[in-house]
């Protein structure tokens, strides 16, 4: 039992390293991904909230100042990038669609763990660089952030990634039956754009939707960690998010396993 856990751990560490090595092979792409893209997103979000406050000619919205919203926008853009998985999800779908999954199915490992560890490795190697952007911005613009809360916010975010990956697993597994399911990824990401709180702080949504949306596990992607980091939420919200994410992981994986098993039965080993 102990040995098999060590083997599992070493294997998954190797998958995470694979993601790091592969991403660093293409330097310009890595720079755009880890630096330019988050800088652009931050700039756009900043402009949006500047425009909102100027247009409203108000110093506060829903009891919070402009600096507060700028801080939210800054961290929301950063956390949203971490909790979005379109790149690996697209690869997972392509593996099944094109039949390159054959090389994975005949090896002693699981498709789920292979991509999950790579996702973690990729998120790690991009996050360590892209975090410098919000950090520089909060010091430059003196924006409210409780940095001592960063570790717990990160813990929730990376825990939420399990749910994100499990949803990707369901979408990818449906490619066993439908082949081309790339549009599912786009549709899902649009829905999550709102439900995570990337588009706007979820407590601005009117009741009864507000309560429902915040109770869903997706709020753990952006709203809860960013709200906690910027002082909008307290630690109770973090614990509640951990619980809702756990429920989400269990429910989504039950469906995922079912679709995967049935999908394998239908799989024709595409090509060759």
């Amino acid at each position: 039992m102990k040995k098999s856990f060590v083997v599992f751990w070493k294997r998954n560490l190797a998958f995470a390293k694979l993601a790091i090595v592969s991403n660093l092979e293409y330097r310009l792409n890595y720079f755009v991904d880890a630096v330019l893209q988050p800088t652009l997103t931050t700039g756009i979000e900043f402009l949006l909230w500047f425009a909102v406050f100027r247009g409203a000619q108000a110093t506060e919205i829903a009891g919070f100042t402009r600096e507060y919203y700028l801080s939210y926008a800054l961290w929301a853009a950063f956390f949203a990038r971490i909790c979005t998985s379109w790149m690996y999800e697209t690869r997972m779908i392509a593996e099944i669609d094109t039949g390159t999954i054959n090389g994975l199915l005949t090896r002693p490992m699981s498709f789920y763990e292979y991509y999950f560890s790579q996702l973690m490795g990729y998120k790690f190697i991009t996050t360590v660089v892209s975090i410098t952007i919000p950090l520089m911005a909060i010091f430059l613009f003196k924006l409210p952030t409780k940095l001592e809360r960063l570790p717990l916010a990160f813990a929730l975010e990376f825990y939420y990634l399990i749910l994100v990956h499990s949803i990707s697993f369901i979408i990818a597994s449906s490619a066993f039956y439908l082949n081309k399911v790339y549009s599912f990824t786009n549709a899902k990401n649009l829905v999550l754009w709102l439900l995570t709180g990337e588009l706007l702080p979820l407590d601005l949504i009117p009741e009864p939707y507000r309560h429902i949306v915040i109770s869903m596990p997706f709020s753990a992607g952006v709203f809860t960690p960013v709200g906690y980091l910027t002082g909008r939420l307290e630690i109770t919200a973090i614990w509640e998010s951990f619980i809702s994410v756990t429920i989400g992981i269990v429910a989504v994986n039950c469906i995922g396993v079912l679709i995967w098993k049935q999908g394998l039965k239908a799989y024709a080993g595409t090509g060759a």
């Binding site: 190797a14 090595v21 092979e25 054959n102 005949t106 002693p108 490992m109 080993g269």
Partner: protein
């Protein structure tokens, strides 16, 4: 003789969508689809002993690759049973997967964006091999295949022949007991084909694995296989030694006519394609 592979009435049926030509038919097909059912493998029953090298021969679409995919656990049979090393392949248990390897000549199984050496290090982790022993094995195999100079070049930069050699090293790294080779020399020049053939012959002598080999190059089969498995429209139509097969064919020939293995297979495949 102990059997490492046994199948009984193994059948696989594929469902395929049929769409007549044109935009109008695409629109019709959007709402109502017609499906065909193709029997790729039809009640195939066979027994393969430990250490045998099987040449699996048949026309395109005869069911060779489907049989390999079922035996390696990639495809689930529609009916019938298969047992490989005592395991049910479709369950894809790790213990089973550690003892087999499948090489699909038309598909890359190593990682495109990294060097073969990085790929082999990753495979060593996946198969839980000692990293130093795995590294040594890679160098030994690369030397036998005369390709040590490309071990640290990104896979996508290699020629087809070099890539195939890397794929072979990757497939043999964990010393599988059963090896499924699906057209390992496809698209290669004569020299590369010869190198791979010689290498496999040497490997078989040293490690005695059980191999099922498919190839459209009859030289591969004639030089490597000791047993022939002939498949036609999903049916196994012959299982026996190559010698017996040629002798049997010659007895059926007209007097004064004698043919070799390649000629017998050519005639068989010609008959097959006429019947299609």
């Amino acid at each position: 003789m102990s059997f490492v592979i046994e199948t009984k009435d193994l059948t696989r049926v594929y469902q395929t969508y049929q769409k007549p030509e044109g935009i109008l038919n695409s629109l019709k097909g959007f709402f109502h689809r017609k499906y065909n059912y193709k029997i790729a493998l039809d009640k195939a029953t066979l027994k393969i002993g430990s250490g045998q090298i099987i040449g699996l021969v048949g026309a395109n679409g005869a069911g060779k690759t489907t049989l390999l995919k079922i035996l390696s656990g990639l495809v689930t049979p529609s009916s019938g049973t298969a047992s490989v090393l005592g395991f049910k392949p479709s369950e894809r248990k790790n213990e089973f997967l550690r003892q087999i390897s499948i090489l699909l000549g038309q598909k890359n199984q190593l990682w495109w964006d990294i060097s073969p050496m990085d790929s082999f290090a990753l495979l060593a982790r996946i198969y839980d091999l000692n990293p130093d022993a795995a590294r040594k094995r890679v160098h030994d195999l690369a030397e036998m295949l005369k390709c040590s100079h490309v071990l640290q070049t990104q896979l996508r930069r290699l020629s087809l022949g070099e890539r195939m050699k890397m794929e072979i090293i990757g497939a043999l790294l964990h010393e599988p007991k059963i090896l499924f080779l699906d057209e390992p020399t496809i698209g290669l020049d004569i020299v590369a084909q010869e190198t791979i053939r010689e290498f496999l012959a040497q490997y078989v002598k040293e490690k005695s694995p059980t191999i099922i080999l498919t190839s459209h190059y009859m030289d591969d089969i004639a030089k490597l296989a000791d047993t022939l498995l002939l498949i036609s429209k999903g049916h196994i139509v012959y299982q026996g030694t190559l010698k017996e097969f040629v002798a049997k064919a010659n007895t059926e020939m007209a007097e004064n006519e004698e043919v070799n293995f390649e000629e017998v297979i050519r005639r068989f495949l010609e008959t097959e394609s006429r019947l299609c």
